[in-house]
Subunit: 420 residues, 4 copies
């Protein structure tokens, strides 16, 4: 196959040399990722965060291609042609199962994008047909890698670890799209200090400060983008919309709900239905729902569409504040189930680096010239300082404009509690 | 009002100092622009082209704010507070009337986004209310500026000319988003050589090469992005979808068509309907239509969703080729109305610089130290070379995979004509 | 005065609005800084590190100008016209007294660039004449600010603190010049969260992660650039050259030494002599000395010119290694005074952040919305982790090629000790 | 050999895989290029233009390495290992013979840096020894390539043509260093459309707009940097200094002139002398000369050191103005030989693109899909517009401050002629 390229704002070009990769990119399951934003609702905070999972998938593939190509050139990575393809395919497809606004939707409707990835790859899809042409077991191998169960642990480590192609692309891409420069890091330098060994990628100790800088870039992006309280407000409203939909559906309320979503709620979702889900559908539903007769669903939908978010206060003593506000909200007729939300950091996908957590991905090991191996946080003071920490921060979200406008004793109490 | 900022990938920050500007940004009509892509269907060519008209609108405002602030600091621009606000508001709102995939949709369904901008500003909208609070005639003044009819011609020239805030932002933004670096230019330098005079912005002749470089940046973006044949293919399919919808609607065909679009087709469109239109709705309709019983609408819809575009050949002698193919397409049952398209350059919005065209915007004038004024193309050879030229290039678009797979005499003739 | 600009690779433009600033830039004392590299000998590690103190001085001025302009626009900084000028002038002149390769030269020949700055400003110089025209006491005020003794402590804090115009420019500039991206940070954002109060600039607590990222950028640059062992090797050789020159001079050795340097060694250096010193002179002397009859001076000079540096090993137990090598070096005739160097980190200008050090500059204080003030390392874990730490790392530098080529018992012992 | 890298601000890393390349970089003749600025005196206009020929040489090598590597990966370039090395070595060494401020120095003292390159490569140098170890004829082959006489014309075309590694690096590097963004272009894209054929590199017609953009980038840099009238003023003073030195030397005037320069003037220059020449020496001489008893040499030297440049006026009718001023300058005692200079554009190295000039390098040919070949300016209107044009612009340089201060009839006449 002739070299084919895709112009990319992060890597300049994405280079393709395999027909399989090109066919996968052209598959309708991959094209669907164009209609799903990489950062979900984060555009309410950073208006530049409009890039899709499609762009990120191409970028992840490109990072993997670079890693393989550069390490092979140095003779440090020996993979068969099929293993190389496996790495590149898995990088490209790692997000194939993502649905719209996954974090919020999955937490309410159930489902799991990683499971859907495997269903798409193993099921009745264009992607599956393309992979099966490589060899009948190839789809299954891809699933194994995604599951972390492929016998070649080195491949798994390239795909999914603390410094993998996925994370390296999204840090660079999210940084560029949002304009928050702190996610930038020196990709070429990181690849240069990679040292594949049996079962795992190590890093040369001489490159410690590069690895440290990468973890600190991730840390910065967590605090300045991914954890940003305004993002959280957007996600909370999304979740509350979906919770309201479930409640209304279960109560038999008559409102527009497409068959695909009904099937999910009935637990009868199939691949065809799932693949119809994208940001467009969800946003179009919000347009429908903003005019529906249920005041809560209508209000929450318009809040997302028109960006009228819940405001927040930080609170140190969460229980007291939250508990005291609930009855007052009920009294004034603002349903606290939907309009008063305490956001626990524990629920945040918090992983800028956790070497010791059992759920965490592989820790980062550095190898010195004499061969000895140390875990990153033993070598880097700032990494040690942030590793595994769970910030105890509570944010309480509420509808400020309602609280400010409200008249009467209870409103005054609420305002006093909230510090007005 | 305290300074408020929006993080922006192009300008780093967008600075807001007026409550009116902030309220306009928060209005639901502006927020709707988040759901309309700046470059429409261009993402089929450049996957990074996912930025919205909202981001561009903020950017246009910011460029205007910089122009005013820098020229005022040098004492070269004297505007009243209200005139300044008028400039900034108009920059922010200049695209407020854009609908989804405007070029294609408008050319079939009728309508005109510039007209809708004025309806939104003058009509029953949040935007109108905010503007009317400045002064009762303020909405009207904004409309006048957008119409090029405001008595202060200098303001009109800042908003809409060959080097205006709109174009300067979109060149930079489209360049960054697509990764096509040639749209980049030195904004600060351009502003530095601006010289506002009565009724028009002139440019210092000492800055000629900066202005020239800006025009050449625009020229490069036209050829590498805006005119890209793959973009054109996407736009052609969009247009053919909308044409098919009109045909089906007029034929009384039973298919899903939301009330808002029916109203447009009935000529009964109102502002509420119009403001429901966004990319999400259109993409969701494509999802509906891909399953509808009309084969043409279904096929075209899936072509856009799955990016199966029409291919093209360049042709020098358009008539012959096109005319010979039509009956052959009919014979083999591929409806040439929808599947054989000749793309005339004349229809392309071609304006990288046309000093003499009666429809064109103001030409660019440079003033030498001694006060004499010359039009740009008299000073710059490369600008002169491209000014006002209309490239005679014809592209013929057709469904390659159908043509390649087809069996029989007619298919062979078609393939021969198309050079296979 | 009309606005005047200088094109700058870091800030795009440096804007000048005061004739005094322009005159100072044109003074011969400022122009001399073009001939002194900002990062001294660091180009042996990073070949891009070729930028001058002149460029950095313009950049420091521009950062100061931006700070003043942005804070004034927000009404947060109220300075008289003269105070503003004082800030800008001091920023521009803060490095005026720097000599060539200052760190190495000063540590051997004595002298102190800060003292020379004051002599230039207060003495018989073009700079002094320009300043004295502002007002007779103006040169003295500039000296006071540089000395940290100006009564307006806020001005001192803008000029010289943990986050001052000097550091902000050099981080950005050194980062760009070397290609080590980790020194980049969001200057606009830092300025936005500055909060001048009486006597000091505070920072808004909401901007904590920006400040943290700035300190981490500085930390990264220290380890990847300023402390780089190859840089240290270059500086060590420089120092050894100057030590040899002193030894030879004191021994009455006959070799080329210009009058200006002789005057320094005699302790009779005057301003005219001092201002003749620049990188060109020193490099030209090295060219002379590489041919002189003293083998050590000749060899060390050619080492710098041809970049034949000393190599290093890290050592944990410094005394043992160093002490054991000295007699062996003497035996084989390699003078350990010049060719065996232990590099103590304690001697390194180590200041990425030390809140508690008595010699350190002002710590960074953040102010929360309710007015309470905290020192940065109390709020940021990674900053706390690096604050005030002194890495215990010893590097032993030696001439590898001599050691590898040497024959005999002692050489073998040396090689064994050095791990060959 | 293990991969070795150099951090580079333009290409991020320069990758080295051959010991020969590494040894050449470490040779003293290459290290000397660190002490010669790439853009000579241009820093008087763009203070960022402080980068050396060493950095540019590494960059040229890296561009060549990329070209070879990318074309080989696509199977479009088949070179033997030795031919590859020849390409890379020649790219690295192409500027090895440059002296300080070559344009000015050579035009007065004679000599030719291209000739010196060949002498260094073929003569008694470290570079020669390293090359001769590859094979005895290898130095000669390198000389052949530099001379355009190597039998493999394709190699010559890669090294020296309108789009060669040299020009591509310097456009990017000069652009970044000065901050003039218009020299930026898409290097990866240019390499992608290269099509090596027997004897020459062609370009794919599909990439025409990329090639066009590259030529326009070069055009922009000529006008905004290389031809900048302030640069020209610096170069004119340099040249006048060297002319004065020759005059004084020939007149037997007693002043400091190092042996190496005396040897040049005697026509007895040898390689050892030549290699001592660098910017440092020249700048140190200017420091000497600024204090010498010849007023003209002293004044001109201080003008360069302190950046007191000659000012200029543009003149359309060169003869009249210049001729009328000469006797007036003589009358008032300002020697017109040194202080009144007419700058002819014809003397400027003007080559942004000249397809038809007999002295020019190979024109750029594009190949269409069907194999037909066209020269670039036949396809691109803006390139055609600038190709081969020689701007008729005359600048007259003179010492403004002297003219403004002067008293008397003749001065008044001079001022009147110069438009004061």
């Amino acid at each position: 196959m002739k070299e084919k390229v895709f112009k990319d704002p992060v890597h300049n070009f994405v280079y393709v040399y395999d027909q399989v990769i090109l066919d996968l990119i052209d598959s309708k399951e991959m094209q669907r990722l164009r209609r799903i934003k990489q950062l979900g609702i984060s555009y309410v905070t950073y208006h530049g965060a409009e890039h899709s999972r499609f762009a990120h998938s191409l970028g992840t593939y490109e990072v993997m291609r670079k890693i393989i190509s550069k390490l092979a050139r140095k003779g440090e990575l020996v993979l068969s042609e099929k293993e190389e393809l496996l790495c590149k395919v898995t990088a490209l497809l790692h997000d194939i199962g993502h649905g719209p606004f996954s974090h919020s939707l999955e937490s309410v409707f159930g489902g799991n994008h990683e499971l859907w990835s495997k269903r798409i790859i193993a099921g009745d899809s264009e992607v599956n047909k393309i992979l099966a042409e490589v060899s009948p077991d190839f789809p299954n191998e891809v699933v194994q890698v995604l599951d972390g169960k492929h016998p070649n642990k080195l491949i798994a480590s390239l795909i999914s670890s603390q410094i993998d192609a996925d994370r390296m692309d999204y840090l660079l891409r999210d940084s560029q799209a949002t304009g928050v420069i702190y996610g930038n890091f020196d990709l070429d330098r990181i690849i240069r200090v990679m040292k594949p060994t049996e079962g795992q990628v190590l890093f040369r100790e001489a490159g410690m400060h590069s690895i440290e800088a990468y973890i600190l870039a991730r840390y910065a992006m967590y605090w300045q983008v991914y954890f940003h309280p305004t993002n959280r407000s957007g996600e909370i409203i999304l979740k509350k919309i979906f919770e309201r939909v479930v409640d209304l559906y279960e109560a038999g309320f008559d409102f527009y709900l497409p068959e695909s979503l009904r099937n999910i709620l009935r637990g009868e979702i199939n691949l065809v239905d799932y693949l119809r889900l994208d940001d467009s559908l969800i946003l179009t539903l919000f347009q429908e729902w903003r005019d529906c007769s249920d005041q809560i669903l209508a209000d929450l939908s318009s809040r997302i569409l028109d960006r009228r978010l819940l405001k927040r206060i930080e609170c140190e003593d969460k229980d007291g504040l939250y508990e005291r506000l609930i009855p007052l909200f009920e009294k004034v007729g603002i349903n606290p189930k939907y309009y008063l939300v305490i956001d626990h950091p524990y629920h945040i996908p918090y992983d800028y680096y956790q070497p010791e957590d059992e759920h965490s991905k592989n820790p980062i090991y550095l190898q010195s010239k004499n061969g000895s191996i140390k875990e990153l946080s033993q070598l880097s003071d700032p990494v040690k300082a942030i590793a595994g920490k769970r910030e105890v921060m509570y944010n309480l979200y509420y509808p400020r404009e309602l609280i400010l406008e409200g008249q009467g004793q209870e409103y005054e109490e609420i305002r006093q509690i909230l510090g007005y």
